[in-house]
């Protein structure tokens, strides 16, 4: 009896509750569909297209003739920097609608939109009473109609190129979110002469090939130049008096210093991230090991002890680890060990031979060269060996070096000639994406580039 009443009661209650709930649900739906305040439409955009951004770099007007000329040159260098990055496409100034005079007052964004510009750069050049050059620039977001950046620089008039690079860096940084790399230099080995008697000189130039000059006279062979990450110093190997030794050169003062007179041959030097020490290889009695050398105390430390050939050390940017290559497994492969030499682990497992690991300044990747089946490749992989990707390929591609932002690589490429006597060696840069490969024009053959950090 009680069971039955309970059942009936429960039946009524649950039925009613259910029906009321249904009503409530429908009421909710009604409200939803009738009022515009319903949960708002939301559209997910999960893809994009990497297209160079159309940017209008206008001439920076100046008061006098000299300033006007500098303004024009600045504009060209800025536009060229941006264009070469592959991320921007500067618009031909012939297309510009707004006049320079009116732009100086305020940008007319509609006129810039009309020529598809998404960003606009303007500025001006002034000579100050003390003779210094003052360059102001502004970067505008044409679509959002806002100023994105505005900076003024002051320098010697003959130093205008650096201002142009700094402005390009600022634009790059503001729009891509990454540090730029235009205000940098590159040292490399300039080669000339016949194959059996090459003259190899150390040379330096701006990242865009300008301001080229030689750092050595070519009497002694130079190899493997590497920039200090903290100073305008280069470490390299030279056959001074036929003895292969590692030297440190202060670029600005020209001061040259021998790094320890070790027995055997020292080679493949590279700075530690703090610039205070160098890692390099020493070959002695047919074996090659990796050593660290403190530049202040001159204390030498052996980091590897293995009968195999260990060479090409490169520090991680935090200084905690070192990548190197070794043939301890048979073929040449890449390894990573702790900075004290412990815990070496192999990270490359592909076919062919892997060499010259170079840790990215960003820390996320290690660049390397690989040879397999008679071809050479420049590739990158993560420090744990995953994500291997080959960016460039050729008869010979070698010597990868990172731009300070870890986004672009430079390397050299050998273009073989038919008879093998007139091979050409050229420097190239390539974006981390594997696209936008560009030649860096050098006066003669070039190899072994080394990218500087951003110039302070």
């Amino acid at each position: 009896m009680t069971i039955k009443t309970n059942a009936i009661k429960r039946f009524w209650v649950t039925r009613s509750v259910a029906a009321l709930c249904a009503l409530a649900v429908v009421a909710g739906l009604n409200v939803g569909f009738m009022s515009p305040a319903q949960a708002e439409l939301r559209i997910d955009i999960t893809r994009g297209e990497l297209k160079p951004m159309p940017i209008a770099v206008t001439r920076f007007p100046g008061e006098g003739v000299a300033e006007t000329e500098i303004g024009q040159n600045l504009t060209q260098v800025i536009a060229a920097d941006l264009e070469r990055s592959g991320l921007f496409s500067p618009i031909d100034e012939k297309a510009f609608i707004q006049s320079a005079a009116s732009l100086a007052v305020n940008p007319n964004f509609a006129e810039w939109r009309a020529i598809n510009a998404q960003a606009l750069v303007n500025g001006r050049v002034v000579t100050e009473p003390n003779g210094l050059l003052r360059v102001e620039f502004r970067l505008w977001d044409v679509l959002a109609e806002t100023q994105m950046s505005g900076v003024a620089y002051r320098t010697q008039p003959n130093n205008w190129r650096r201002i142009a690079h700094k402005i390009a860096d600022e634009i790059y940084k503001r729009i891509t979110g990454e540090t730029g790399y235009f205000d940098t230099r590159v040292v490399y080995v300039s080669e000339s002469g016949p194959a059996d008697n090459r003259t190899k000189r150390l040379a330096i130039m701006d990242q865009d090939g300008a301001n080229h000059r030689f750092l050595s006279d070519g009497r002694f062979l130079v190899l493997n130049p590497r920039f200090s990450p903290t100073a305008q110093e280069v470490v390299y190997m030279s056959y001074f008096n036929d003895k292969p030794r590692v030297y440190v050169l202060d670029i600005d003062s020209g001061e040259l210093e021998l790094l320890g007179d070790f027995p055997g041959m020292t080679f493949a030097p590279r700075f530690a991230p703090d610039g205070n020490s160098v890692v390099m290889s020493q070959a002695l009695d047919g074996n090659s090991e990796i050593y660290g050398l403190d530049l202040r105390t001159r204390e030498k430390r052996q980091l590897t002890r293995h009968p195999a050939v260990d060479t090409s050390p490169s520090y991680s940017p935090d200084g905690s680890r070192i990548a190197f290559n070794s043939d301890r497994s048979g073929a040449q492969q890449l390894y990573v060990m702790n900075a004290d030499g412990s815990g070496a682990q192999r990270i490359s497992f592909g076919g062919g031979r892997y060499a010259t690991p170079v840790w990215s300044p960003r820390g996320d990747l290690i660049a390397f060269t690989k040879s397999e089946g008679g071809r050479y490749y420049i590739g990158v992989m993560r420090p744990d060996g995953s994500g291997e990707r080959l960016l460039a390929e050729g008869y010979l591609v070698e010597g990868p070096t990172w731009a300070p932002n870890g986004r672009v690589l430079m390397y050299y490429r050998q273009h073989p000639s038919r008879d093998g006597t007139k091979d050409r060696y050229r420097l190239y840069s390539i974006d981390l994406t594997g696209y936008n490969e560009r030649e860096i024009v050098t006066p003669a053959d070039g190899s072994d580039p080394a990218w500087s950090p951003l110039i302070p």
Partner: protein
């Protein structure tokens, strides 16, 4: 008006009765047939996003609400199809509305504020001095104006023959990362699986059963594709994989954008990398080449205001 009210009342009463009679006893067994209405509730955008964003939805399973299956509409099958995504809520899930954040500030005029004088630098060294960023507030990028008149997409003057960039079949970032070895091996077999394809088919089925008021999958796809073409995501930005930007759009009836602003601005908080991502998204929405938006004009009420959610994670393979 009265007529509609009466009809409405009638339907409600009818519904009540039907529900009273027809609904199963909820407290006795597991309510399997809850799902009968779930298709109605899943909005298309949620649906299409579902496959890639396996974000763990808060399963609202525990208190199953009775779903009124006998809609006024003649619905063919009240099939208790136990789908994996039970959506008992009647409303398209009110996503974390970024509403309670600072109103779009009254449009800071892009005034060319004077660049402050840098300190005189007596040293005649080739040092260049950068001064402390005289730019306007970094977060002030929402100054937006109506792009009501779409400027005709003029042929761009310096259309560089971008070296090799045209890998036509590949659009997303992942494929933009080149690998010369892979190019060799699979130079042909690159018909990458379109991640959107599968859901699309399911979804169109769903759409067919939906009330007319919502945008269909193909309508949404049209505007998605349009904006994707205008978005050049800063793939290198540090926060690329961590930060999705929400752009709140107020649109005109002709599909042009009246106002667009970053609605999750509070997530940026002076992070330049995030700011860069947000700005790139804003530029995509404001790009004249993407105006007017390809939205069905007859459903203006649906998109008078809406939100674009720009998310790079899929492209980066995250």
């Amino acid at each position: 008006m009265l007529r509609y009210a009466l009809i409405s009342l009638g339907l409600h009463v009818a519904l009540f009765l039907v529900a009273w009679l027809g609904l199963p006893d909820l407290f006795d067994e597991t309510p399997l047939d809850l799902q009968s209405i779930s298709v109605e509730v899943v909005t298309v955008d949620e649906f299409s996003a579902a496959p890639t964003k396996a974000l763990p939805k808060p399963e609202p399973k525990e208190e199953p609400k009775p779903a009124p299956k006998p809609e006024p509409k003649p619905k063919p099958e009240p099939k208790p199809e136990p789908k994996p995504e039970p959506k008992p809520e009647p409303k398209p899930e009110p996503k974390p509305e970024p509403k309670p954040e600072p109103k779009p500030e009254p449009k800071p005029e892009p005034k060319p504020e004077p660049v402050p004088e840098p300190k005189p630098e007596p040293v005649p060294t080739p040092e260049v001095k950068k001064e402390p960023e005289p730019e306007p507030q970094p977060t002030e990028l929402a100054a937006v104006k109506p792009t009501s008149k779409p400027t005709p997409p003029k042929p761009e003057p310096v259309k560089k023959p971008e070296p090799k960039k045209e890998e036509p079949k590949k659009r997303d970032l992942m494929s933009v990362l080149k690998d010369v070895s892979k190019l060799k091996e699979t130079s042909e077999a690159t018909s990458e699986p379109q991640p959107d394809e599968a859901p699309q088919e399911n979804a169109s089925e769903v759409v067919a059963t939906r009330l007319d008021a919502n945008l269909t999958m193909s309508e949404l796809d049209a505007v998605k594709r349009q904006i994707e073409k205008c978005w050049s995501p800063p793939a290198g930005a540090k926060e690329a994989g961590n930060f999705a930007v929400e752009i709140h759009v107020s649109a005109n009836p002709d599909g042009t954008v009246r106002q667009a602003r970053i609605s999750n601005r509070s997530d940026i908080q002076g992070d330049t990398s995030r700011r860069t991502i947000a700005e790139s998204a804003l530029r995509a929405v404001l790009n004249p080449q993407c105006s007017p938006l390809k939205l069905p004009l007859d459903k203006y009420e649906m998109w008078r205001t809406f939100t674009f959610n720009f998310d790079m994670r899929e492209m980066l393979g995250l």
